[in-house]
Amino acid sequence: MSALNNPVIAVIVSLIIAVGYFTLVDHYLMDMQGLDYWYLFRQ
């Protein structure tokens, strides 16, 4: 836990969790509607 209290590590870990979480939210919630979140990037 002490390593996580290091600001740099905390920011990196937080970024990984938050970016990963929101990407999953975007992807799966579009997928559930039968839509492709990555539509533009596949063109």
Binding site: N5, P7, A10, V13, S14, V19, F22, L29, M32, L35
Partner: protein, 639 residues
């Protein structure tokens, strides 16, 4: 066992059983009783007589059913179908309907608050706090009691207005809903009985087991109230999206189809949330008024606290309200695309811009109140310097949210702007941008709440530093995701774009649920920088509460008008045509004036209700204690 129960307990259990019985009575009454032949369907009778059974196809469910009702009347403009005074009948009905709805919403919402606050009082371990919650719940129900009588009176006026001015339409509607009309009336009786026992039994059932019985009564009261509202909603649902009838409007014998129309459930959810937000706003305004008029520090502390609780409850229901609104609109589009276009892209579109403005005002007022409220706690100063950034985010979100897609312009203005849409601002007039705007606004409100909740506390958990950084990063990523999705929407086709609103909403709700939970974990056993000094808040904050309540009232009037107007020249959409001379859509200016008049009338009458409440309050035997500055007054031992 019975010997152990005191007389009070027996009485309270009997009262509770009676309420449950009242709740179930309408259902029992509604059961068909073929033994005595009362509810034998007309079709069966026809079969016995050997007549030909006429069948019809449900306009919505597409099922076949035996025709048991008369067709919708084809009205003509004249004294038979549309008797009138020397005034526009629709305006009179609008007024009666709106006032009944305001009071109805209020008296349905406040008992839900009461239930929540009374429950908080029962489960809290701090006895002084429990007593304060109990007093607050009692104050709430006291306000709603007078309003309840007014609701009933206004309901009567509304029925008389219908009968007098729109007899043909009312006769048809009451004919369709005949199988449940008596249930509605019985529910109303059950609601009244339960409310009076709940109110007058407060002191008798204030401790131990009896308190739980009392709390159970509030649950039953709210179940009855909610069912009442659902039934009333089924009428407007039927008028907008009829079901259970054939194309001539003939009832096909299935009352559940008539009630369960395409828009019934979205309307139910939207109205529950709306009523709660509205009720919270009105009680908060009451508390603000009492705060501003208070003569002692003690009173100021009490009403400051009351205003905060009411505002917090109201806003808790305001936050999911736009999402319920999206669901309703989605169902409207699914039911009739043209109806959705009339609402959001056609005749009534400009009213949605006004609605967006009002929603923005609601959230701005809430945030402003929270920032002011941080002034009453020591330690919250550290957040003050960041508030300007929240103001910036709110202002940006708000400006995008209220930007119209197109504007009504003179040819010269059109030429000067280079087209219907402004070359830059026009980009913000589309749903993709607006979804981003409102989600930024709501996320910022969540952030303000989190700051308020931790204002005077310092977390003592070992991972506090990581927790704070994680919270900051999560909010930052949420903002980026919302804005990214809004921008992304411009680059993909419309059929894919519409789906982006779902992850946007999920992002906002993630902030709400995860960050509130994380904050609660972090603040468990936190070091307090000082107590919350209730009553030590600027007068400006109280005006923000009054603004909040007024904006709620105005917006309710506006949205009710929009919802009703979308039927255009139909009493019952595509079934019964409105042939009165007023079957046209009013101008935006006229509608706005009418809504303002309704709001003004409601607030004048509710002030009268507050005044009546204050007359009762003067008789309460309050202990004459010296007020301790900054503390919350102890409530009287009895009411």
């Amino acid at each position: 066992m019975m010997g152990l129960l005191t007389g009070k307990r027996v009485f309270s259990i009997m009262a509770l059983c009676m309420m449950v019985g009242l709740l179930l009575l309408p259902i029992v009454v509604a059961l068909p009783s073929p033994a005595i032949g009362e509810e034998a369907p007309a079709g069966d009778a026809a079969k016995k007589d050997g007549d030909k059974v006429e069948k019809g196809r449900d306009v919505y469910y597409k099922t076949e059913g035996i025709v048991v009702g008369a067709p919708a009347p084809k009205t003509v403009d004249g004294p038979r179908d549309y008797p009138r005074y020397n005034f526009e009948s629709r305006v009179l009905l609008w007024f009666a309907n709106q006032q009944h709805l305001y009071y109805g919403s209020f008296v349905l919402a406040v008992p839900i608050f009461c239930m929540i606050i009374e429950f908080m009082g029962v489960v809290t371990k701090d006895k002084a706090l429990a007593k304060r919650y109990d007093q607050l719940a009692y104050d709430f129900i006291k306000i709603s009691l007078t309003a309840y009588s007014l609701t009933a009176i206004l309901g009567g006026i509304l029925i008389f207005t219908f009968l007098t001015l729109y007899p043909a339409f009312f006769s048809y509607l009451s004919g369709i809903f005949r199988p449940v009309m008596h249930i509605y009336a019985l529910m109303f009786v059950a609601e009244s009985g339960t409310l009076y026992i709940y109110y007058y039994g407060w002191d008798k059932m204030k401790e131990g087991f009896l308190k739980w019985i009392h709390l159970s009564m509030s649950v039953i009261l709210n179940i009855i109230g909610t069912l009442l509202m659902f039934l009333a909603n089924s009428w407007i649902g039927f008028m907008m999206s009829p079901a259970g009838v054939d194309e001539q409007g003939r009832y096909l014998g299935n009352i559940w189809h008539v009630i369960h129309t395409a828009l019934w459930n979205p309307l139910n959810l939207h109205r529950i949330l709306g009523n709660m937000a509205f009720g919270g706003g009105v009680v908060a305004a009451y508390a603000a008024y009492k705060f501003l008029a208070a003569k002692t520090e003690e009173d100021r502390a009490h009403y400051d606290w009351m205003g905060y609780i009411a505002m917090a409850l109201g806003v808790a229901f305001l936050i999911p309200l736009p999402f319920a609104g999206y669901w309703l609109m989605r169902e409207v589009y699914a039911y009739r695309q043209q109806m959705g276009i009339t609402l959001m892209g056609g005749l009534l579109a400009w009213l949605f811009i006004i609605q967006a403005t009002m929603i923005g005002i609601l959230f701005l007022s809430t945030n402003y109140y929270l920032w002011q409220a941080m002034g009453r706690m020591r330690g919250a100063e550290k957040y003050q310097r960041y508030i300007k950034y929240l103001v910036f985010l709110l202002a940006c979100g708000y400006m995008v949210f209220i930007t119209p897609h197109t504007m009504v312009m003179s040819p010269a203005e059109l030429k000067a702007m280079g087209g219907q849409q402004h070359p830059v601002l026009g980009n913000y007039g589309v749903m993709s941008a607006k979804n981003g705007g409102i989600n930024v606004i709501i996320t910022t409100t969540v952030l303000s709440f989190v700051w308020y909740m931790r204002g005077n506390k310092v977390s003592t958990v070992s991972w506090a530093k990581f927790g704070n950084i994680f919270m900051g990063v999560f909010f930052a990523c949420a903002y980026i995701n919302i804005i990214w999705l809004a921008i992304y929407g411009y680059y993909i086709p419309a059929n894919v774009r519409v789906g982006l609103s779902v992850p946007q909403v999920a992002t906002t709700l993630s902030c709400l649920f995860f960050m509130f939970a994380l904050n609660s974990f972090m603040m468990k056993g936190a070091k307090q920088m000082g107590p919350i000094e209730w009553g030590k808040i600027s007068a400006r904050s109280q005006y923000a509460l009054i603004m909040l309540a007024t904006a709620f009232t105005w917006m309710m009037g506006l949205m009710g008008y929009i919802r009703s107007s979308v039927r255009l020249f139909w009493h019952v959409n595509e079934i019964m045509r409105d042939n009165s001379p007023w079957a046209y859509t009013h101008t935006v200016g006229f509608a706005a004036n009418m809504i303002s008049f309704n709001v003004l009338f409601f607030w004048i009458t509710i002030l009268f209700v507050f005044w009546l409440g204050s007359l009762t309050a003067k008789k309460v035997p309050v202990e004459a204690k010296a007020g301790i500055p900054g503390s919350v007054p102890q409530p009287a031992a009895s009411h």
